[in-house]
């Protein structure tokens, strides 16, 4: 009975971190749909989200305000990367490989700059609601977990409405379906590119802020998160934001179960194995590729 509740706990934790992966995965999809680019700097947004919030909170800025400022800052970083790194290559019609390499290099630059500014010690954030966890059938449900679930659901609904109802959101979807046709209809494809980076960076930042109280953040957490987000996007069928979220939940669950049965040292290995398994056996994901 005790073991069963431990399993339940594991599943809950897996789903909670899965939400984070899902949000990062959506970030991948948003940029990919707008531009066909896979942004390997995605992990930097997550790391910056946790890190900037930490710095602000340690300067006695209230958490909510710190989070809001951070999201805006990171979205700005997204736009800056788009302007400085991606746009010149995009204009030159650089190959996909060069684009990946450049965004990966951007990730390293951000990572190392962070290392220089804040050092290599792991940082953490206080939980948003400092109350003892709820207990349900012997499973402890921390308030941070509820924050993660709640925020994820709100974000997904908001994104759904954004893409369905607003003019800008529809324009982005049009770009995803056919960029040339979208351009002919007077949609500024280049604006969409910048917007997609801002949106995706903002999502990454939120994921980073949500997850940091449950673990920690350090200059080098970006790459593992980016990989996990990418796996989420692949598992969901690349280019499907909702699929990516489901993919994130799947991955979080698989990872938690692997750790539960094999030990925590294998957390990253488990994720990477899931990635390779999907790439080799079913690269179009659970729901099938969007394109």
């Amino acid at each position: 009975m005790l073991d069963l509740s431990f399993l339940g706990q594991t599943i809950l934790n897996g789903l909670s971190v899965g939400c984070i992966y899902g949000l990062i995965g959506i970030g991948f999809c948003v940029i990919y749909n707008a531009s066909g680019i896979v942004n390997f700097a995605q992990g930097a947004f997550v790391m910056l989200g946790g890190m900037i919030t930490y710095v602000l909170v340690s300067l006695n800025v209230p958490l909510i305000l710190a989070a809001a400022i951070t999201i805006i800052c990171v979205a700005l970083v997204g736009v800056i990367i788009e302007r400085i790194v991606v746009r010149p290559l995009w204009d030159r019609k650089a190959t996909m490989f060069v684009m990946i390499l450049a965004t990966l290099a951007a990730q390293i630059v951000i990572e190392r700059a962070t290392l220089i500014v804040v050092g290599d010690q792991p940082k953490s954030l206080p939980v948003f609601t400092d109350l003892p966890p709820l207990r349900l059938f012997g499973i402890a449900i921390g308030y941070q977990t509820l924050w993660i679930f709640g925020t994820s659901i709100v974000l997904i609904i908001a994104l759904g409405l954004f893409f369905q109802k607003t003019l800008v959101g529809r324009a982005m979807r049009a770009c995803a379906i056919n960029r040339e046709a979208a351009a002919l209809q007077g949609i500024q494809v280049s604006h969409m590119l910048a917007l997609s980076f801002a949106l995706s960076a903002g999502l990454g930042a939120i994921a980073g802020i949500l997850v940091t109280p449950t673990q920690f953040t350090a200059f080098n957490v970006g790459t593992p998160f980016a990989i996990s987000g990418f796996i989420a996007a692949i598992v969901g069928g690349f280019g499907r934001p909702f699929g990516a979220f489901l993919g994130g939940l799947t991955l979080g669950l698989a990872q938690a179960l692997a750790v539960y049965s094999l030990g925590s040292g294998l957390k990253n290995m488990a994720a990477l194995s899931v990635l390779l398994l999907f790439l080799f056996l079913r690269p179009s994901g659970i729901l099938g590729s969007a394109k």
Binding site: V38, F40, I84, V85, P88, L89, R92, A94, M96, F97, V98, I100, L101, A102, L104, A105, A106, I108, V109, E111, R112, A113, L115, I116, T223, I227, F230, I234, G265, L266, N268, M269, L272, S273, L275, L276, L279, F280, P283
Partner: protein, 331 residues
Amino acid sequence: MTNSPATISSKLMAALRHAPAIAAAGMVAYAIADGGYIVTVVGFGLIYTIFVAGLNIFMGYAGQTSFGQNAFAAIGAYASAVLTATYGWPPLLAALAGIVATAICAFVIGYPTLRLKGHYLAMATLAIGLIIYEVAVQWQSVTNGYMGISGIPALGIGHYELLSDRAQLIFLAIMAVLSLAASWLLRHSRFGRALVALSGSEDAARALGINVRQYKLTAFIISAIYASISGTLFVHIVGFISPEMIGMNMVILAFTMLYVGGIGTTTGPLIGAIVIGLLPESIRSFKDYQDLVYGAALILILIYAPGGIASLDQVVKKLLRTKAPAKEVAP
């Protein structure tokens, strides 16, 4: 006709094309003659020359993508380290075992991976590099985890050991020259032509009867063997290996060198590795900023000079060409 400006400038161009490679070779010769601290730096550059030359065969010639070649350097490095330091094998035998192990791993990994395309291939190879890193960290009983393995003997056969810095550097220089020569021979052969063909257009290559899959895999394995050799040399020269030495930063560094030197050219890896290898010496307290600068440099090169230093003559040519018509127009 022989004195026409066109002929002179074309001769100049030819000289210019080889200038960076000659300068890099000169740097190596200087280090061998000087024997001072510069030996370490140039030695490091020569080891990377081999790694990048391998990367160049797979990416420059065959036009493929791998972000995980550090995995094969790691296999070579750890095979040499474990077999010599832990089990007392002679370095040469350990190196050969490492190469064989690498080739087998490259085949097993490459067979399913190289069927992927685009960002799937990029991410799969990245994952392979990360998995090897995780293995190096987690497989404590063999790799000693984060602590790494020390006490790795110097290179040598039987009783002859390469102990002096200068002897080591000469040996590294010979190895680097051999690997560049092999790269040149491969490029200028039926094999190399098949690689540039599949790089140019897989459909066209297949229509001409080239087994694209087989050639990609062969190039991948050759590239891995180069990486393995560089890994082996590295541990014997430094005498130490830890997971941090074979992480993602190694990949970014190698790409920076490849692009600085000029991707797809035979001597590009040497040029890039020497230039980037010397960079830390020209900037004080560079260590902290090293990866930052490499990353930023890579971005700048990708944007502004995708051909690298080896294609400097092309850049000059382009500049001259844009100026030339203006002269003709002038009365």
